[in-house]
């Protein structure tokens, strides 16, 4: 429909020129009326609800024919005030909020926040080995599930539907493992200040080993399907180019930075959670384009598989070891148990506090209602999430709640590169460029 008036403009907003409202099945009339005017410049508002924008991302594209002359992002559609809400909950409850930010990599959100809290508590060296190994295990499994979605949705957005279906098929296997270990498929709140919420359930190591065996067969399928696929390469190669200087200036990290050939990976450069004890390689590529980022993600899944394998071996020797810090003033008092209806109360613990020990009951009550106090100060412990440097700036005023928790989310920062990656290219390449950044809007908007 072509009108002189913009029905969607807010009152008081001037609308200039002609307005095209696309409602479906009216492309002919639109192109016809565009053709009548001599002006070729069109501003397209793409999103926030669009299947190809990788979430509720709004793109404002200025087009000249099919060439993008200007690209801008509109974000904030998924802003839920998680950081503000965390200021009104205890330190432990904070994990329940921050796990929901970047919903494709929940363990990383929890981990960076928890590492910050642990630094302020000065208990970094007291975290039991098993808790650290379990954190690494879960984070690396999570890296695989996140990269699988990145590849799957990236494929879907350019029309490679098989890539999507097999990507989600494998991700499902990872989510099954999460469900087995944490009780939840997403939003786990499993990594807690002082350790992890509970021990590995029986049989988990066998499931993990089966998964590793299966993935070793499945991962080559992606390579066979995509690596040398001429259509796939034609769409990805040379698209979304950003060199090293551009990455550093715009603060890009993760696969985008590594696709320039620079092996910057916080797991190697500033190890946390005992990453220095694992044998793995930092994956790089030298083309600085979307294809390189795809290959890096694929290769990183292999490396994650290697780390998961090493974690499984180490966990086999740590049976029965503690998963929570020994300090009873910090450690969550109960170990939850998985019942027939999912994760819930541990009957042993309830018997102990209700029937056996008054002190244990008081202690439980105090820790659960009041929580622990964190000495005043601030900490920032960034980690390498699947998308790059994810860090939580945690500030405490000495109270039982975070005074401020700010998350430096890599999706938020990396999305700033949209314009430099896509201006001057084709409209269809904007989609590829954004898919190669792999922004998760839950993390961008928080």
């Amino acid at each position: 429909m072509t009108t002189e008036q913009d029905f969607y403009a807010a009152p008081g907003e001037t609308s200039q020129g002609r307005v095209f409202t696309v409602t479906g099945q009216d492309w002919d009339s639109i192109t016809q009326s565009i053709g009548e005017s001599a002006e070729e410049r069109v501003v397209v508002n793409m999103g926030p609800q669009h299947p190809s924008t990788h979430g509720v991302l709004r793109l404002i594209l200025e087009l000249e024919g099919e060439t993008v002359t200007e690209a801008r992002c509109g974000i904030g559609y998924l802003h839920t005030g998680i950081e503000k809400n965390m200021e009104y909950r205890s330190w432990v409850q904070g994990t329940t909020f921050c796990t929901r930010m970047d919903y494709l990599s929940p363990f990383y959100n929890e981990a960076t926040y928890v590492l910050g809290v642990e630094r302020l508590l000065d208990i970094e060296d007291d975290i039991p080995e098993k808790a650290q190994v379990m954190r690494v295990l879960l984070m690396e499994l999570n890296r695989m599930s996140s990269h699988l979605v990145a590849i799957a949705t990236g494929g879907m957005e350019i029309g490679a539907l098989t890539v999507m279906t097999i990507g989600f098929r494998e991700r499902e296997l990872v989510l099954d493992l999460f469900e087995l270990i944490t009780g939840l498929r997403m939003n786990h709140a499993f990594i807690r200040p002082g350790g992890v919420a509970q021990d590995l359930p029986p049989g988990a190591l066998d499931e993990i080993r089966d998964f590793i065996t299966l993935m070793k067969k499945r991962l080559p399928e992606y390579a066979a399907l995509c690596n040398a696929n001429p259509i796939f390469k034609g769409r990805l190669e040379g698209v979304g180019h950003l060199d090293l200087a551009g990455c550093i200036a715009l603060g890009l990290t993760g696969p985008v930075l590594r696709s320039t050939g620079y092996a910057w990976d916080l797991r190697k450069t500033q190890p946390y959670c005992g990453y220095e004890d694992y044998d793995f390689e930092v994956q790089t590529w030298d083309t600085a384009d979307s294809y390189g980022r795809f290959r890096i993600r694929l290769n990183e899944m292999w490396e994650s598989l290697r780390i998961v394998e090493q974690c499984a071996d180490r966990l086999a020797g740590l049976e029965g070891a503690p998963v929570m810090v020994g300090d009873k003033k910090i450690a969550w008092p109960s170990q939850l148990a998985i019942g027939s209806d999912g994760m819930g109360n541990s009957l042993d613990h309830i018997r102990h506090i209700m029937g056996e020990s008054m002190e244990a009951l008081i202690h439980h009550f105090k820790l659960v209602t009041e929580g622990f106090r964190v000495p005043a100060g601030q900490a920032y412990v960034p980690i390498e999430s699947p998308r790059g440097e994810l860090g939580a700036h945690v500030v405490s005023d000495g109270g039982t709640r975070p005074f401020r928790a700010h998350f430096r989310d890599p999706s938020f920062t990396n999305l700033q590169a949209t314009s430099v990656m896509s201006e001057g290219g084709m409209v269809a390449d904007v989609i590829v460029a954004i898919a190669s950044i792999d922004p998760v809007m839950g993390g961008v908007d928080r």
Binding site: Y88, R119, I248, A249, G377, Q378, V395, G398, F403, F412
Partner: protein, 287 residues
């Protein structure tokens, strides 16, 4: 603490219950102004109370630098339950404890901290901007440079370009609102990384609520574009020199800046089976 005239009403109520019981045991005490006694009582409670005491900032490990002795106290925490007017008769509502942040450190800071601080100082002395760094805090293995706000762009430029410093990567800016830190309520905190030397430092600048301006660093670290917009959006900190300082997460016409401490969390009571649970910021809870 004793010369604090505007004591909150809930403390008075809580203190009154104690006064009455005290009057029986110590008649002389009642001759003194009630308010003074309350505060003394509160002080002694903070001193001896076990679970509620604010622990002193830990600087004990041998490799950490000694604090200068001056303490950076920012505000006070009153009571124990965070919420007033709930009919607290336990007396815990009268607790007063200072909020003490880690004190500035003295040299040597230890490890590469001294190299960075030394290089920074040398460069600043060469340009006669010696007072650009207000203080240096080393806490939990992280170093924070408190920078005078008008000198922030110069310091950042130097940190980025100087060969010995080379902090070429900025992780963004995070705002913090300390309503009780009078004259410096708004803090902007920058995390810088030197990929060359594999080091990480923190810069902190402050601005009063009455003049919420901080120079923009977008020309030095372009990545700060959205980060500064977010901090403006959430705290109302105006970054002078930013190319287009508009809201980024909240709608353009949103009133107020949500992350400020004087901005309420909001929420409605939840009713369940006849009971009503107030929204999180009005619930009775520990503080």
């Amino acid at each position: 603490m004793t010369d604090k005239p505007d004591e909150k009403p809930d403390e008075k109520a809580a203190g009154k219950a104690q006064d009455e019981s005290d009057d029986k045991t110590d008649a002389n005490e009642s001759a003194r102004p009630a308010e003074e006694r309350n505060l003394e009582k509160a002080k002694s409670e903070t001193g001896t109370g076990s679970g509620v005491e604010q622990p002193a900032p830990e600087q004990s490990p041998e490799n950490l630098p000694a604090p200068t002795g001056e303490v950076r106290a920012v505000g006070e925490r009153h009571g124990m339950f965070g919420v007033s007017g709930t009919g607290d008769t336990s007396g815990y509502g009268g607790l007063v404890s200072a909020t003490v942040f880690p004190a500035p450190s003295q040299k040597p800071y230890g490890g590469w901290f001294d190299e960075v601080a030394g290089a920074l100082e040398a460069r600043l002395e060469a340009t006669e901007l010696t007072s650009a760094i207000e203080s240096v805090v080393v806490h939990r293995g992280e170093i924070t440079f408190h920078v005078r706000r008008e000198d922030l762009p110069f310091v950042a430029q130097m940190l980025r370009d100087d060969e010995a410093l080379r902090f070429e990567f900025c992780s963004g800016v995070s705002g913090v609102h300390y309503p009780e830190d009078t004259g410096r309520e708004l803090h902007a905190v920058y995390h810088l990384t030197s990929m060359t030397h594999n080091r990480r430092i923190r810069l902190e600048v402050t601005a009063p609520d009455s003049d919420p301006h901080v120079p923009s660093l977008v020309s030095i670290y372009p990545t700060l574009d959205w980060h500064e917009r977010e901090t403006y959006d959430m705290f109302g900190l105006i970054f002078d020199g930013h190319p287009a300082l508009t809201r980024v997460l909240m709608p353009d016409d949103w009133p107020g800046h949500p992350q400020r401490k004087d901005y309420p969390l909001g929420g409605i009571p939840v009713e369940y089976k006849g009971g009503s649970i107030p929204p999180p910021d009005q619930r009775r809870s520990y503080n």
